[in-house]
Amino acid sequence: MKWFGRPDREYREELEAHIQIEERENLERGMSPSEARQAALRKFGNALAVRDNLSESRPFHFWQTLHRDMLYSIRVLKRSPGLTATVVLTLAVCIGANAAIFSVVNAVLLRSLPFPQPEQLVLLWGTGLALGQRSQVSFTDMADWRHESKSLEEIVAFQGWWNPTLNWDNRPEHVAAMQVSDGYFRVMRGAPLLGRVFLPEDQVEGHSRVVILTYSLWHDHFQADPQIVGKTIQLDSVPHIIVGVMPAGFHSLPPSLLTRSPQLYVPLAEAYDNTQRSFTHLRAIGRLKPGASPEQAQAELSVIADRQARANPDSNASRGVHIVPLQADVLRNIRPAVLVLQCAVLAVLLIACANLANLALARSGARQKEIALRAALGASRFRLLGQLLMESTLLSIAGGTLGLLLAYWGVTLLRKAGSSMLLDFPAISIDWSVLLATGGIVILTSLIFGAAPALSLSSTSADECLKSGTRSAGSASRSKMRRLLIVAEVALSAVLLVGSGLLLRSFVTILEVNPGFDARNVFTAEIGLPEAKYPQRRDAVAFFIRLIARLKALPGVESASAVSVLPESGKANHTGVRIAGRVDPPGQELAPDVARITPDYFRTLRIPLLAGRAFTEQDDGAHDLVAVINQTLARNLWPNQNAVGQKIWTGSGRTWRTVVGVVDDTYQYSRDSPKTMQLYVPHADNGGASMTVLVRTMRSPDDIAQDIRTAVSQTDPEQAVFDAATMESVVGNTVATRRFTLFITLSFAAAALLLAGIGLYGVVAYGVAEKTREFGVRVALGAKRWDVLRLVLVEGTQLVVVGLAAGLIAALALTRFLSSLLFGVKPSDVGTFCGVGLLLLTVALVASFIPARRATRIDPAVALRYE
């Protein structure tokens, strides 16, 4: 270790040379070799001591010093175990929270998706629907892109909503299937563990049906049977041949793109409505050729889409394609939330550091004499600084280690609490990069809160300090630094509080939005009838009529009904509509959400009927075809007219229907998304094999769930329900991400407020203790208690006002980054800013009041003797 002058090694060599010369002379004098050596050493004195003498100035005995400083620090920290424990715990909680949140950031933003060359994967969405929302694509369009594109090596279609009943060993079970076109495994770079992947001929209708198992299904359900390939399983009572098994390392697409993680793959049969360009019910994913950028692909495909639009004006006019890298698509909704959380938790850590720095400053004041004594005994300033930093480093390392343990627990908690938001990122864990980042945080922490007392030390000289008796020197610079730290703390807390306040207001605003229906006491369950057993529309209709009748007959059931797509489920079906006397440009027809419902649907969800009537059992298609529309659609189609009695053409059945009723709006996606146009048609005339039943009852969810299962199996013993849940939990899911973000930021803000309060209290209390004599003099000279109280309160509040002003200005600049997370509240919401100001002032007053009261009780006789 070379610091100044020659390295230590050279000194050792030089001293050794000296001893050897002496030894040789001794030998010449006739001593025995061991005598000669001993005498030489004796004459030289203690060689080690010499080296230590030398070390005082230069060959820096770094490790030795470090070791000694460490032992000394441990002794110092042991001397005040309570304080040490408090500091370590504070750090542990803050560092632990940072590590836990960073593990989310790491998994979500830093780690790439678990596919080979994930940056080449792009999703291809349809654009141009009147709603402005991105849409799915048709098989035919996708096939065109695939053939014509030069920048993408492969494009495939997939859909993930089929949940067939798997029948194996006579144990029926719902499984999640993903339907993919044959190139899917090429795009995802997946090679099978057993058997083969799909071939183009697997897609041909009439070809024997085939299936590929995921590793987990193969392992859990088929006991990892190595002979599984070639065996036949029943999916929705249709035989499928197993042609392959994928390895464990083959990951599915993020679940948010499917309805759930697939357990098996089946080919997307070409005949599946795949000849119509208007049937946009698929999603598409492609892989860019090496070197091609998403922008190039976008430019190229836009041209292709334009050509498609000109060639097929009926279906494709003004329809385009939008290319989104897979990673960006997955992060779309959660990136801002995750970043906000990381900033919030870092702010809390900084506040904690400021508090600890303050604590360390107060202690360094108390330890002034010790330090001065060490300086007087010859400790260099460098050594003293090292000593102080060593203490903060030890504390940080202890806090960091404990924090990591907390983080392990925190990550589990985050995974559970944030499951809906972090659905696509099951691999949130503490890995080496989290450990590395935590190590960085530990170093940062020890520097931040070790630096404050170290800096104040540098403005103090030893002799000044020893001379100055009790009144510690350097206290002016220290208290200045303590004030600065408090101002910074308050400012940071203000920013955090404003941020979480805005999120809270948004959340409350959303909860206050009238959903248009009453979710309480409604239980839902999904049923998907297999096409093999219910090939005809009327079979499915009959099933649901019988099932609903059974459900209505259950004790305690107020009403029961079924719907194809639940409101606020985030899912929707669309259909183009036309009315007489209104010509929309092709491709820009209104495309409301469409739902098939049974007659009591509006009654079950208590959706208010605004005009006309709801459906009845007679609306079964045998008579007039009817429809019910929501208010938004009514306003769009017939502004200032009565919608009831009007005729509407719907694309899905290609028929004219008579509007018989208008109902209030509900939200199809979530309450923070815009209202959509909605069209309801009777299930009885339209059919539909996949429906969600709704039961309004006062009975407990578990209780009614059991009864619904019984009713379903009484109607058809081969059918099972899935996704049984209360309507409130379905609705809750749409605000789950908000609730999660809000919950965490609120706890961080609360922690920040608490820390700032404690910090302020500490500074004011310390100030009071330092000024005991001054207050004594004031009281002795006739100052009233109120004067003393005011003096202290003003001092505390001044700091807060300065910090608050800085914080609110910073918040004003920063909250616009929150805007994508806000709903119904501006980033500069005056109420929130004022509220935060009041809150912090209140905390400041309380935190200063306690020491202020102590100041008023000072007995001048005691105070004047106090030091």
């Binding site: 030089e14 010369i21 002496e22 030398l54």
Partner: protein, 117 residues
């Protein structure tokens, strides 16, 4: 050779002696120590251990310089030699020392003086 009749150096004189030793050419640490001992008829006791910090101080003050060399019996040793500044310093110190010695001697040999009222 007993230690009883040997003298401890006065503080601050070691440096001067080291400089003086180097007047006649470069020497290594051991050589300096033995030269001082020999030229003082073994009366001055050099604590070999304390020699090296002294050499360091001198080198840092620019009064001597050093480099590795080979000793008489082919051993690697560090050789020290006087710098120009060292020579000047030695002259100053020697002059000062002579004055002190003279003054101290004068005091020690002085006859009792009469007190003047």
């Amino acid at each position: 050779m007993t230690h009883d009749n040997r003298l401890q150096l006065l503080p601050g004189t070691l440096e001067m002696l080291v400089l003086q030793t180097l007047v006649f050419g470069a020497r290594h640490g051991h050589g300096i120590a033995t030269t001082i001992e020999r030229t003082s008829d073994d009366l001055l006791l050099i604590d070999h251990g304390s020699l090296y910090p002294a050499l360091q101080r001198l080198e840092r003050a620019g009064l001597i310089s050093s480099e590795w060399g080979t000793s008489d019996n082919n051993r690697r040793a560090r050789y020290y030699k006087l710098t120009r500044a060292g020579r000047k310093k030695l002259a100053d110190e020697t002059g000062k020392w002579d004055k002190i010695v003279r003054a101290v001697k004068g005091v020690l040999r002085a006859k009792p003086e009469e007190e003047h009222a």
